[in-house]
Every structure is written in structure tokens, then in C-alpha cells.
Symmetry: C2
DNA sequence: TTTAGTGCAAACGATTTGCAAAATA
DNA sequence: TATTTTGCAAATCGTTTGCACTAAA
């Protein structure tokens, strides 16, 4: 159960995630927070990311690249993965669209569907022309 | 560009994936193929899985558990992840449903959406009662 | 002063890779 | 024979963990 204690490092990690629109990896979080805490270790970053994700204060999103990304925006929303620059961008589907989808799935499936997660692929507006 | 040469091991791996309805990990593939080729190495399994996936003859699917799974069924379809037994099951949405979704996404997004992939979560029919 | 969090380095699990030997063409 | 694939072991990469020490309550 372990009572939670304040930590400046955790605060900084959380703050970074809340103020960026990026979906950084643990390593990226590490380099940013390192500017404020030059001695912080990667282990501390991982420990806090896991803790914050367990508390529901941030979200862990798994990307097609096999590195986990983190998101300070926890409202349910979807993601777009740019196959060119490999960034993850936010994409908002309406609640109706999402429940419609789950309902369609429930009709063809013999179990209990509780949620779903859709990731979209393609080229972001910056990469449209570029890339093969 | 390297010309492709036949290999009995690759054949066996592919055959296993085509005949199972499971979505095995590389390690599971390894133990199965080992029955036919007791000396096969895990490296060979990984190499062939990668090769077959690149050729489009099998699909690599990333599961919420951080181990990749492989699928011999390459027709576009969706997956359901049972949060109880952690198996991945097939789930078929109609093409209309999928393109409907992509279209809804395209309307709110300023890039080029090429495809999407939805994974559903919940309890499979075997686990409905069981598990918390 | 008690307990939780840190930095460090070692351990881990999944996957990849270099290399000499074996199989395929 | 020329080239690809194999088995093996070592290497890599992202992530986790044990431990002695520091910070928060």
C-alpha cells in the first residue's frame, strides 16, 4: 500500500508531460528533466513514469516502434502514427463513433468487450509530400 | 537484394502459423517448430519471422504484453485481447465499419490517413465468469 | 526517526547480429 | 561452386531491480 511522498523529480516529470503536445519516450523525458535535475537517473524516470501511469495521472501508449511513449493528456482520445517522421499525434474521434465501433464489434464477438483502442496510420500534414 | 533460398525451417514456421488459430509469440513458435527440428535456434526463428513479415506472408501484431505475436492470417481483420487469459482472438469488423471509422477520423485530422488498427479489450467467452 | 524516493550499476527479457559451418541453387 | 541459411553465442536495447544513501513526513 505504501504511502505516497512528494518528490521534486516526479513533479518535474509530470509537469513536462502536461505541457508538451509530444508523446515522448522515457528516454526523451529523461533528457528534458535532466536540464532541471542534472543528476537524475534513467531508473528514477522509469520508476516515476510507471507510478504516474498506475495512478492514472499519465497514460502509457505503445507505439509501432517498440518503445513505450507517454502522454500527459489522459482524456480518452486516439492517436495517429506518422509512418514518415514516426511521431505520434492526437486525433479525436467522437464518443458516438467509438461506442458505435464497440457495438459493431460486440455483434460479431462472443465475449465481453469493455473498451477499444484505435491507432491510425498515414502521413501527417508536415510529411504529406515528403517520404515514400 | 539477396535472392531467396528455400529452407525447411522457414517452411515449418510458416506452416505452423497458417494452421493455428492462436497468435503465438516467437518463443511459442520456437517450441513448436522444435518438435520437428530439435536443433533449431531461437535466432533462426526470429530471422524467419522477420523475413516472412517483411514479405507480407505473415503479420506481426504487437500485444499489450510487451512481446510481439505473429499471425498467419494476413487478411485485414481485428483483434481482441482478453485481459484475463491474455490471449489474442480474432474479431471481424466489416469493411464498411472500418472505412466508416477512417473517414470519421479523416474529418478531424489534418493529415493523410492510410489505415487504422483497432484492438478490443475485455473478457473472452471462456473467461467471462472468472477473473476480477 | 521512520518511510519513501534517489542514483548508480547490475540484471533482465526480448530481439538482433557476427561468424564459421551446413544447406540450397 | 556461389550464395543463402543455419546454430551458436555474444551483443544490443528498452526496462526493471537491489542496494546504500538522501529527502520528505
Amino acid at each position: 500500500m505504501a504511502a505516497l511522498k512528494y518528490s521534486r523529480q516526479r513533479e518535474s516529470i509530470k509537469n513536462y508531460l502536461l505541457t508538451t503536445r509530444e508523446h515522448p519516450s522515457a528516454d526523451t523525458v529523461y533528457s528534458h528533466v535532466k536540464e532541471e535535475f542534472p543528476n537524475i537517473s534513467l531508473g528514477t524516470v522509469y520508476r516515476n513514469l510507471k507510478l504516474l501511469a498506475d495512478l492514472g495521472e499519465i497514460a502509457k501508449i505503445s507505439s509501432p516502434d517498440s518503445v513505450d511513449r507517454f502522454d500527459g493528456f489522459v482524456q480518452p482520445h486516439n492517436h495517429f502514427f506518422c509512418t514518415c517522421c514516426r511521431r505520434i499525434l492526437d486525433l479525436d474521434l467522437s464518443m458516438e463513433e467509438i461506442s458505435r465501433l464497440n457495438q459493431a464489434a460486440a455483434e460479431t464477438f462472443d465475449g465481453q468487450i469493455e473498451s477499444s483502442n484505435t491507432i491510425f496510420y498515414g502521413k501527417c500534414s508536415d510529411c504529406k509530400g515528403t517520404c515514400s
